[in-house]
């Protein structure tokens, strides 16, 4: 089935689309403007806005569901932002199968995390501000996925970047948090430049920002231009989704409060890159080269993140490495084209459930362990936090891909799709995805074993308080349970009668591909690989006790602990290189540009000084100059007369 982009004007129920965004936006505005006066009920308002938005999203979803497949595409024109002859920028929203999936994910997981945060941030004096930022994030993210043109999408893109910056640095009194926020912002800027150039290129190529002209015109545009746009979009996606080589910020972003890590840096914002690529499928369909680069980036990142995840002792960073890796899977799938788009999004949704659940579980553990994040100080927590243990365990089973949990359905499909790509690249990508599954099973098992099994390795915190692990309050447990249900059931539901493929294929297109190996064989192989990973981790962390202080480890372990030297590389190449570049530029600026400017101004100043001497203050010299001037006038007039 080939996708087409032919929306109709949104009327009736579909006119509610804008309200999905307006609710959290209003929430953010009220909390921001209301200031301290809203402290008492600010968190409740934040939750209400998120939940309200989710309810609207659900209404829209069911309204779409009631329509036949080809009629699930609606455009809502709100107003014309810049109405200049020859240039128009509209504010309008586009509702279709793809965007509604995102709306439900964002508002659904978002609502759960709002609720969770009520308790998690209870003792933070800035809780109201936190909810303000969360609402702002929701609004911006919804703008991103609902925009009907790339310019507005870009506005939302920058909005989520801002919200992410504010929330990573929420505890700005910690220098590490402030630095992490800046790092995230700067690294994202690199990607944003790519996206902005892509958007400009679209405008010059198609004369419009709107999805319609761009996506429908892509097939008849020059392939070279489409490759350029595709690669620039990929650059944007790499920044926002922490893909190689712009991955370095995500691990540091864990400085933010854990609900933020769960919502923004696991379930939703970091997947914006995947949305961008899948939404722009018409552009990537035209350019096999751009798609190839996308798959390579995805494959590299999925290994990169998984390896980092193996070596981290910080539970949140281990999960962050895992996030990077899982998004690598999605990017890989998105790069496969029509074979993979649907599974990229499907994995994105299931990942949204289980990774948010895992993060909330990690937050719950930290809550009970005096905010210690070092897994070497955990152990044996399953008895003390049964709910956390069970929900985290279900998320764990989902992420490593044990049937029938949701990760199995989506990740397996990506592995199959990678092989189905065919040719050498199919084999390489497929094997990389398989290897990733092995490593994922290893590091996730390691996390679970170190946290919930073995013996207590608890240590008192800096102020000497012994940890007294306890189950978190029900208001934190409930979201974890809901997400765990999603982790268990979502995959099966999506795959039942190919429901998800049928739902999304009108937007993204779908093709089966030609797998070189039998699907059943591949599934067995995948399960064997996963079992190997679990077994290896059990040997290392189940049978023997993890030491409280990390061992020196092999070269590979040390490299992985250093994020595979990503930061060192950035520092060496970009920071030092950038410093040299700026020095050269400053030198050029001082000697070249300033030289010219200063030269001109010095010349003018000097001539001003010399001319001033004529202004001697003596009437006689003034009269002389007048006389000379009059003489010149006479001579000039007589000469001109000819």
């Amino acid at each position: 089935m080939t996708p087409s982009y032919a929306p109709v004007a949104a009327t009736g129920t579909f006119a509610l689309t804008a309200w999905v965004i307006l609710l959290p936006l209003a929430g953010a505005a009220i909390l921001l403007i209301g200031g301290r006066r809203t402290n008492r009920w600010g968190h409740l308002l934040g939750c209400a806005a998120a939940i309200g938005s989710f309810v609207l999203g659900a209404v829209l979803f069911f309204a779409l569901l009631a329509k036949p497949g080809a009629q699930r595409s609606y455009d809502q024109h709100v107003y014309t932002w810049i109405p200049v002859p020859g240039f128009t920028a509209d504010v309008g929203f586009h509702l279709d199968q793809l965007s509604i999936v995102f709306v439900l994910l964002i508002t659904g997981v978002g609502s759960l995390i709002h609720i969770y945060s009520v308790a998690y941030m209870e003792h933070d004096e800035n809780r109201r501000k936190f909810f303000c930022y969360l609402n702002l994030f929701l609004a911006a993210m919804l703008v991103l996925v609902l925009a009907d043109n790339y310019l507005l999408l870009y506005a939302g893109w920058e909005g989520v970047g801002l919200a992410s910056y504010l929330l990573i640095g929420f505890w700005q009194h910690k220098p590490s948090a402030a630095v992490a926020a800046k790092k995230a912002f700067i690294v994202n800027r690199v990607g944003d430049v790519g996206l902005s150039i892509a958007v400009m290129l679209m405008y010059t190529t198609f004369g419009s920002f709107a999805f319609g002209p761009v996506l429908n015109g892509a097939s008849s545009a020059k392939v070279g231009t489409m490759t350029a746009i595709g690669l620039l979009l990929l650059l944007g996606a790499c920044g926002k989704s922490a893909q190689f080589p712009l991955q370095s910020w995500l691990l540091d972003a864990m400085e933010g409060p854990t609900p933020v890590s769960a919502l923004i840096h696991a379930a939703t914002m970091v997947t914006a890159g995947v949305y961008l690529i899948v939404r722009s499928n018409a552009i990537f369909d035209v350019s096999p080269n751009a798609r190839l680069v996308v798959t390579i980036i995805g494959a590299i990142t999925l290994m990169f993140g998984a390896i980092i995840g193996c070596a981290k002792d910080d539970i949140k960073k281990a999960l962050a490495g895992s996030t990077m890796s899982q998004i690598g899977y999605m990017i890989l799938a998105a790069g496969l084209g029509p074979i993979g788009y649907v599974f990229a999004i499907m994995h994105l949704i299931t990942h949204g459930f289980f990774k948010a659940g895992l993060f909330l579980g990690a937050g719950s553990v930290m809550h009970g362990m005096n905010d210690d994040v070092n897994m070497r100080h955990y152990g044996a927590l399953r008895k003390f936090m049964p709910w956390t243990y069970v929900t985290f365990g279900l998320g764990y089973l989902a992420i490593i891909g044990v049937p029938p949990f949701s990760g199995y359905w989506s990740k397996d499909k990506i592995i199959e799709a990678a092989f189905a790509q065919g040719g050498t690249s199919g084999w390489i990508l497929g094997c990389a995805a398989l290897l990733g599954a092995l490593v994922t099973a290893f590091y996730m098992t390691r996390v679970v074993l170190m946290t919930f099994f073995g013996q207590k390795r608890w240590v008192p915190d800096a102020e000497g308080h012994e940890p007294h692990p306890h189950e978190s309050p029900w208001i934190m447990v409930v979201p974890m349970v809901v997400l765990a249900v999603g982790s268990v059931a979502a995959g099966f539901l999506f795959s039942y009668h190919n429901a998800f493929v049928n739902w999304l294929s009108p937007v993204t297109g779908f093709s089966e591909g030609h797998s070189p190996i039998n699907t059943a064989v591949l599934q067995v192989v995948t399960l064997v690989v996963v079992a190997l990973g679990i077994g290896y981790a059990y040997l290392g962390y189940g049978l023997q006790q993890a030491p409280s202080t990390p061992p020196l480890g092999s070269f590979a372990t040390r490299a992985a602990r250093q994020d595979l030297y990503g930061d060192a590389f950035n520092e060496l190449v970009f920071m030092r290189g950038g410093q040299y570049l700026t020095r050269v530029l400053v030198y050029f600026d001082m000697k070249g540009v300033d030289g010219v400017v200063n030269g001109v101004s010095a010349g003018l100043g000097g001539s001003s000084g010399r001319l001033r001497k004529l202004q001697s203050g003596f009437v006689r010299s003034y009269a002389l100059s007048m006389f000379g001037g009059a003489t010149l006038l006479i001579v000039a007039l007589l000469l001109v007369r000819g």
Partner: protein, 524 residues
């Protein structure tokens, strides 16, 4: 020969026909001045100030009413061909009167300097003498300033209307002589003021001589001082043109001196600095308007024939370029705000000369628009200068203005508005004025002039904005100047000036329309 012929035909004296109605604006101004002299002679010293100020303002208002009454009447040459009353004349006269009214509000100010106005207690007393101290102690005031300035206003009204060279010369002297005097009457720094007055007088007399000599040569060429007759002879030459262009050069020099064009500009900074600041504002605005009016009339009526235009245009364009360069470059290094504004006035004379040399109706309209908007802004700028005071009068050194924006936000903001307007920032009246002039020059086919003018504007932005930077982005001096609280009159003047500067930048169409209509009507 023609002199002999003229004398033989007017053997019998015929009473001249004078259209008093058409001349009423000037007559009212001169009449008010004369009344002022009588007041000076008969009114008691204590009441003179009030009477003089009131009389002058009423006189200006009455004269303006007369201009309004004449507006729309057919253009005509009156008083035996010596005065042209046409759209251009009336527009300029109205402008001069409005500007004068605003300027008089500032000149009459007494609140800013311990209930004294800006003028010496007794002009004749020797600076630093016992007589000076005595008269100051008694609170004497030189109220002669008001009738003097009214004479000057009368001269200014006549100057752009003069249709023959003799009338023009009389007007020139009528407007100049009182100014020479008033320039020397500053209360503070009297020696500087008197030096300025003497310089102004000497150089003014020098240039008047040139003007008169030029007029004589033109009479020699055409046999008449009437501009229309000269124009006829230029169009149909009966003799060689050496006499004509020598005369034009000398006459032009006298007029260029008045507008402050280079290389006849050198009096400007010295006089602007030395003169009492309110008078400087008045001169910078009103004198310039009158002088440009006269220049336009000489060039467009007397020499507005193609063959002559082709001769004087390149020369005048060269003068315009030199004027812009001199004004722009020299302003860069000025540390005194009054001198800086003087060089800025020279620079603006350069811009106006561009308009004058373009000779199209469009360019004339642009000049007519530029003159009032520039005049209002420069009066406002000098009015702000009068507010920033030290023990010895006004603190005009730029370094003393550091951080003024924090200490006196309103005056500083007003000055910033005027300076931004001079710099040609959009949404100010002078931006529109410059734009109109440059556009007219381009349409008239002088892109080179426009390029120089734009470069000079860029240069000028530096020294205008430097003042803004000093005021708003430097720390205030520990013992900075005090900021005087002006009376309601000066506040009104400042408010009007600032409002006009912004309003005519945002919605210039009304004045532009008026200027367009007036510029087309030039009695020949």
């Amino acid at each position: 020969m023609s002199i002999l012929a003229a004398s033989s035909t007017t053997a019998t004296f015929v009473a001249p026909h004078v259209e008093f109605g058409k001349l009423s604006p000037m007559l009212i101004a001169f009449g008010t001045a004369t009344l002022g002299i009588l007041v000076e002679a008969f009114a008691p010293r204590k009441q003179r100030y009030g009477i003089q100020v009131g009389l002058a303002l009423v006189g200006i208002a009455a004269s303006f009413a007369a201009v309004l009454a004449l507006a729309g009447t057919t253009a005509s040459v009156v008083a035996q061909g010596s005065v042209a009353v046409d759209g251009t004349t009336l527009f300029l006269q109205g402008t001069i009167l409005v500007i004068s009214f605003v300027a008089f509000l500032v000149i009459a100010e007494r609140k800013t300097d311990q209930n004294q106005d800006a003028f010496a207690a007794q002009g004749a007393s020797v600076p630093g003498s016992a007589a000076e101290r005595e008269t100051t102690r008694r609170g004497w005031q030189t109220t002669e300033v008001y009738p003097l300035l009214m004479f000057s206003v009368g001269g200014m009204l006549l100057f752009p209307a003069a249709n023959d060279l003799l009338t023009m010369f009389v007007a020139l002297e009528a407007l100049s002589l009182p100014l020479y005097l008033v320039c020397g009457l500053a209360r503070h720094r009297r020696l500087l003021s008197q030096e300025a007055a003497l310089k102004y007088f000497l150089l003014g007399a020098f240039s008047s001589a040139f003007f008169l000599y030029g007029a004589a040569m033109l009479y020699g060429y055409a046999g008449s001082v009437n501009l229309a007759v000269i124009a006829q002879h230029v169009a149909h030459p009966t003799a060689g043109s050496t006499l004509l262009y020598t005369g034009v050069a000398l006459l032009g020099m006298g007029l260029l001196f008045k507008v402050g064009a280079a290389p006849f500009h050198m009096w400007t900074p010295d006089v602007y600095q030395g003169a009492p600041t309110p008078v400087t504002g008045f001169m910078a605005a009103a004198t310039k308007i009158a002088a440009f009016g006269a220049l336009v009339r000489v060039l467009d009526v007397g020499l507005g024939v193609n063959s002559a235009e082709n001769v004087w245009r390149p020369v005048m364009q060269a003068v315009a370029i030199i004027t812009m360069i001199v004004g722009g470059v020299l302003a860069l290094t000025q540390r005194d705000i009054k001198r800086m504004l003087a060089y800025s006035a020279i620079l603006n004379a350069g811009y106006l000369l561009i308009g004058v040399t373009s000779t199209t109706a469009q360019a004339r309209a642009a000049v007519l628009f530029y003159l009032p908007v520039y005049g209002v802004a420069i009066i406002g700028a000098f009015a702000v200068v009068t507010l920033v005071r030290d023990a010895g009068g006004e603190a005009t050194d730029l370094s003393r203005w550091a951080g003024l924006g924090r200490r006196a936000p309103i005056p500083a903001a007003l000055l910033a508005v005027f300076l931004l307007a001079f710099a040609g920032i959009p949404f100010t009246s002078i931006f529109i004025g410059k734009f109109a002039i440059f556009q007219a020059a381009l349409a008239a086919g002088s892109p080179d002039l426009v390029i120089v003018a734009v470069l000079a504007s860029a240069l000028a932005a530096f020294f205008y904005l430097r003042v803004v930077v000093v005021m708003f982005f430097s720390d205030p001096l520990p013992q900075g100047p005090t900021i005087a609280h002006p009376s309601i009159a000066v506040k009104t003047a400042l408010a009007v000036a600032a409002f006009a500067t912004v309003a005519l930048g945002v919605a210039p169409s009304l004045l532009l329309h008026l200027a367009n209509n007036s510029a087309g009507i030039l009695a020949k």
